[in-house]
């Protein structure tokens, strides 16, 4: 229907362009600005759906790929493209942003500024997922920072300033590391007289040693991988770098929490799959055991931390740390026996599971934050010990919330189950002990989620503050909730609908990386004396 250039560029820039007319809206007419924003995000979502349906399942490489010169003196291109790895995330971003826009009715002060920043944020997120150029990726990555800072800092809760600056600092620190790694790749990709490149496909080819004169040395790959991993682990967030997340989530307004959990965390995982792993296969393999262990630790740690919370939103935030641990686990299960990749199929399954877990978490955690927000809008507190009996006052809401929370728990038949089970299964091939520990995390998850549901929804009556504020579910809220519930069930029952889109790209990635390792760094390396720069 559209040309590739138009379709992808519009997905990225439509929200930002949509924000411009907001300047001339009447600042008092909040309703019209809200509808305008919803319309903009809805149009973007329609465009992402168009992308979804025009996607060719039989191809593993980049589709709709195009390049335009941006900074020729530095060989930087404006190039966008989509493959099986980014496609689900792009659609998820479109969906979550639309739902968050629908949940933005609770924002009442400075609506104009909010809506403009909100739309700008969407541009940044879409740009990150669609960039095929490292430089462009970095630019979009940082573009998200500013709107996010203000969205948390202006419209957040009581400790919003602290939370906002903490978020900003962590991400910026990761960004600087990424910048240095980016420079390393740029300069080392230059041949004797050639120019360096920022193109992710070319860089991955160089890393894979495919027909190019230059190669990335092992020490370079290791150093770059460490820097990139820290940068992405902050976003993911993984254990030592996760401390910004509970603060940011708790203080952010509900729609922003939805976007944070639903989309922003996925950027960490996406960055590892798209950049850190293909560009430094040696580094990824070198660190594999550590990464898996870190993932497992995050699962357990996040679950325990969640269990200890009394703030509803903080609990959901820590559950994100736990759930994103499965992503790290699934990504890293790259087993080497005697210098060769063994069980590459399990590894592919792990990455598939990690991707699925990201989408599933995008749906379930978005839903959980939304459900918390619905309650908070009514009773203005989030103290778990002061809830109870909500199911009797708001039966429809409580039913939907239960489905979402069960999806987060990983109940079979709902979306959370598929990602968790496959990542743990793939881990069994890697290291049974770690798999057992990871699997036991499910029990802890069940523990804190069931306990939470008991404390909030069950019980004879609501005794907390503002009982008069509890009003039935509005139609707008129902729209958001039903959409998420339906998706949670559909993905749980038909996981292959998603897997079929990712399979080819992930298979290609796994094959290329294991081949590279085996021939250049592993057992095959001794036979080959390649000149390594």
């Amino acid at each position: 229907m559209f040309s590739s250039e138009f379709l992808l560029s519009m997905i990225v820039f439509l929200p930002a362009l949509w924000a411009i007319p907001l300047i001339w809206f009447d600042g008092q007419n909040k309703e019209s600005m809200r509808y305008w924003t919803v319309l903009g995000t809805a149009l973007t979502f329609v465009l992402t759906l168009q992308l979804w349906y025009s996607f060719d399942l039989t191809q593993g490489g980049m589709q709709h790929l195009f390049r335009y010169e941006w900074i020729p003196t530095w060989n930087v291109n404006f190039s966008l493209g989509v493959d099986g790895i980014s496609l689900p995330l792009v659609v998820l971003t479109g969906l979550v942003t639309l739902l968050a826009a629908l949940a933005s009715w609770s924002i009442d002060k400075h609506v104009k500024g909010y809506m403009m920043l909100f739309l700008l944020l969407e541009t940044g997120m879409m740009g990150v997922f669609l960039s095929v150029d490292f430089f462009l990726f970095y630019v979009f990555w940082e573009v998200m920072l500013l709107p996010m800072y203000f969205l948390i800092g202006v419209w957040g809760g009581p400790r919003r300033e602290y939370a906002a600056i903490k978020f900003f600092l962590y991400t910026l620190a990761g960004g600087v590391l990424m910048l240095i790694a980016m420079l390393m790749f740029y300069f080392n990709s230059a041949g004797p007289n050639g120019e360096g490149t920022f193109d992710l496909i070319e860089l991955a080819n160089i890393a894979a040693g495919k027909g190019t004169a230059v190669r990335f040395s092992e020490s370079l790959q290791l150093a770059a991988f460490i820097m990139l991993f820290i940068g992405f682990a902050i976003k993911l967030p993984s254990f030592p770098f996760h401390t910004w997340l509970p603060d940011a989530h708790v203080e952010a307004p509900t729609p922003i929490s939805m976007i944070l959990a639903g989309v922003l965390l996925k950027m960490g995982g996406y960055g590892i799959i798209r950049i850190a792993m293909p560009l430094c296969p040696y580094g990824a393999q070198y660190a594999a055991y550590f990464l898996v262990a870190l993932g497992v630790f995050s699962i357990i740690y996040g679950a325990f931390a969640a269990m200890a919370q009394t703030d509803f939103k903080r609990l959901v935030a820590y559950s994100s740390v736990s759930h994103m641990g499965y992503v790290l686990l699934g990504l890293a299960v790259w087993k080497i026996t005697e210098g060769r990749t063994s069980g590459a199929d399990y590894w592919a399954m792990g990455i598939n599971a990690a991707m699925f877990q990201m989408i599933a978490h995008g749906i379930s955690s978005t839903g959980m934050f939304f459900m918390v927000g619905v309650l908070y809008d009514r009773v203005h507190h989030r103290d778990l010990n002061k809830f109870g009996g909500i199911a009797q006052l708001m039966p429809e809401y409580s039913g939907l919330a239960a489905v979402i929370f069960f999806a987060g728990l990983g109940l079979p038949g709902l979306c959370g189950f598929v990602g968790e089970i496959f990542s743990v299964l793939s881990c069994w091939n890697f290291d049974p002990l770690l798999a057992i520990i990871a699997a036991s995390g499910v029990i802890l998850t069940a523990g804190y989620i069931l306990w939470t549901m008991q404390r909030v929804y069950l019980g004879p009556e609501y005794k907390g503050p503002h009982p008069e504020g509890i009003t039935p579910f509005t139609a707008r809220e129902k729209t958001v909730a039903y959409t998420l519930v339906v998706l949670a069930v559909l993905l749980g029952v038909f996981p292959n609908y998603l897997f079929s889109r990712m399979d080819k790209s992930i298979g290609g990635l796994v094959q290329s990386m294991s081949h590279t390792y085996d021939t250049h760094h592993g057992a095959g390396a001794s036979m080959e004396t390649t000149q390594v720069r």
Partner: protein, 542 residues
């Protein structure tokens, strides 16, 4: 010999000499135009002409026409492909690099004059003095950017400094302003004395003051023995150190930065903005030219000197950037905070010079840099300066505009400005985030280019990794205080008793501000045009 006979001698030289003089005068025209407009301004005051035509018109038209001449020279230089021309028998040099800087300075002068007109800092009575000093300082900076002789180096620095002292103390009624000015003068005089001593040592030992000759003479001296072991080499190294003090003062590098916060706080925001950009730019032009001149001999022992200077400047850059950023954090006065930020930015820019010298020391060796790599540091520095001009000018403009309405420059009085005047707050946020170096704002690309150059230099010496790491770390550090200002303006609530601040988009000040911040955005999205010009200018040193 009186003036008349000198003039006759000047005119009656041989034909070639006359032609050379004529050409030199043509290439020197921008400076002459500026001098002419200074004279006109003073004459207008004598004849009370400034009552009829406001003085700023003289300054504006003078600087604009000088800018047009420079642009014409730029275009001509592009056509002729002549690498460089020596002016006045070797006193100054005319090449792509000097043209870039002269264009930059004159363009900036136009902007500063426009700003002073909008904010009305010199009143009708003081205007001739103010614009005379302003244009006079710029003439000095133009001389600095094309100096090719130790004498011109000193002359340029002094011509730029002396009017700056007076400009700093221009708010005559204010005690703080006079104090700042005095501090600036004493400090400046001390630094100039030290530098002059260094210059005389250098000229005495090498027997020349021309930049073109310095390289070979230095090579001859250092081949006797490098380092402190040989007495003559020791004197030269001492001279370099003394000259470095003068540069460090002009660039406000730690530990010669003490004048900067006081001078900026005491001076009006317009003058502080002018000093923070123009004098830095000119000093960087001169530093580049000088340090490349003394290390111009290719190969041999002089490369050791190049490496030594590069690493020394690198260490100075690390200390300066770190100190500036840390000190800025606790400031409560907007101008003082921006002064420390200026110090930090001088540190970042110095990293480019350091990278260039380090790369230069490796020419012909195992890690011999390519021509492209050699051009990168200068290109990065020029891009950084160009963006820095807009972002810093934008920030100082906002300080001036707010001062005009609230009579305060304290950050506390900026609270919640976004609700009264969204344009001010948004433009300030853009300028500040560009100063942090966040894409897609121009500041990011300047920083990126410089970091890339430093990265290149890491192949030559491990210390450049320290410089690179310090650059990255400082970027994160600097976020704290820039973000604090953005937070104060956008997140805090405006106190009920605070003065009203209004600025509409349609007003001249609003349009000026949007133009300046618009340029920050423009340079962040369309990198190539300026990057290409910077590359051309960098070619002057290849």
């Amino acid at each position: 010999m009186d003036f008349k006979s000198l003039f006759v001698q000047f005119l009656s030289g041989s034909d070639t000499l006359q032609a050379a003089t004529g050409r030199s005068l043509w290439l020197f025209l921008p400076e002459l135009i500026l001098c002419g407009s200074i004279v006109l301004m003073l004459l207008a005051r004598l004849t009370s002409g400034d009552k009829l035509i406001p003085t700023h018109w003289f300054a504006l038209i003078g600087s604009l026409s000088a800018f047009v001449v420079v642009m014409f020279q730029f275009w001509q230089l592009g056509i002729n492909k002549e690498p460089y021309t020596v002016l006045f028998t070797g006193l100054a040099v005319h090449d792509m690099f000097s043209v870039f800087f002269r264009g930059f300075l004159l363009f900036f002068l136009v902007f500063v004059i426009a700003l002073t007109v909008l904010s009305g800092i010199p009143d009708q009575e003081d205007a001739p003095d103010f614009y005379t000093l302003l244009c006079g300082a710029v003439v000095g900076m133009l001389v600095m950017s094309s100096a090719n002789h130790l004498l011109m180096l000193f002359l340029g620095i002094e011509m730029a400094s002396v009017p700056s002292y007076a400009l700093t103390g221009f708010l005559k009624g204010r005690r703080q302003s006079s104090e700042a000015s005095l501090k600036f003068v004493v400090y400046g005089a001390g630094a100039a004395g030290v530098m002059l001593f260094g210059i005389s040592l250098l000229a005495g030992v090498t027997g020349t003051a021309e930049f073109g000759e310095l390289g070979t003479r230095m090579q001859a001296i250092f081949s006797l023995g490098f380092g402190a072991s040989h007495p003559v080499a020791r004197i030269v190294l001492l001279a370099m150190l003394l000259i470095a003090v003068g540069f460090a003062f002009k660039l406000s590098l730690v530990p010669f930065h003490f004048w900067c916060p006081d001078a900026f706080q005491g001076a009006s925001a317009e003058v502080a903005g002018f000093l923070s950009i123009a004098s830095k730019a000119a000093a960087f032009a001169l530093l580049l030219r000088f340090s490349l001149a003394v290390t111009s001999f290719q190969g041999g022992v002089i490369q050791g000197l190049s490496l030594m200077m590069g690493l020394g400047l690198g260490a100075l850059a690390v200390v300066t950037a770190t100190f500036g950023n840390l000190a800025a954090y606790s400031q409560t006065n907007a101008k003082r905070m921006l002064a420390y930020s200026t110090i930090a930015h001088a540190g970042y820019m110095l990293m480019a010079v350091s990278a260039l010298l380090v790369l230069r020391s490796a020419i012909g060796g195992a890690n011999s840099p390519t021509a492209e790599q050699m051009g990168r540091p200068v290109e990065g520095l020029l891009y950084y300066l160009a963006v820095y001009m807009f972002m810093n000018l934008g920030a100082f403009t906002i300080v001036a505009l707010i001062r005009n309405q609230t009579f305060s420059e304290e950050l506390d009085d900026y609270k919640g400005l976004v609700h009264q005047s969204p344009i001010l707050a948004v433009c300030m946020a853009i300028c500040l985030f560009s100063l942090v170096g966040l894409p897609p704002l121009g500041g990011f690309y300047g920083k990126f280019f410089i970091f890339a150059a430093v990265f290149d230099a890491t192949k030559v010496h491990w210390f450049m990794w320290v410089v690179l790491a310090a650059g990255g770390l400082n970027t994160v550090l600097s976020l704290f205080y820039y973000l604090r200002v953005a937070k104060i303006m956008c997140i805090d609530v405006r106190p009920a008793d605070a003065r009203q601040v209004t600025l509409t988009a349609g007003s001249p000040s609003g349009m000026y501000l949007m133009l300046v911040t618009g340029m920050v955005l423009y340079l962040g999205i369309f990198i190539n045009p300026l990057s290409r010009v910077a590359q051309h200018a960098a070619e002057a040193f290849l």
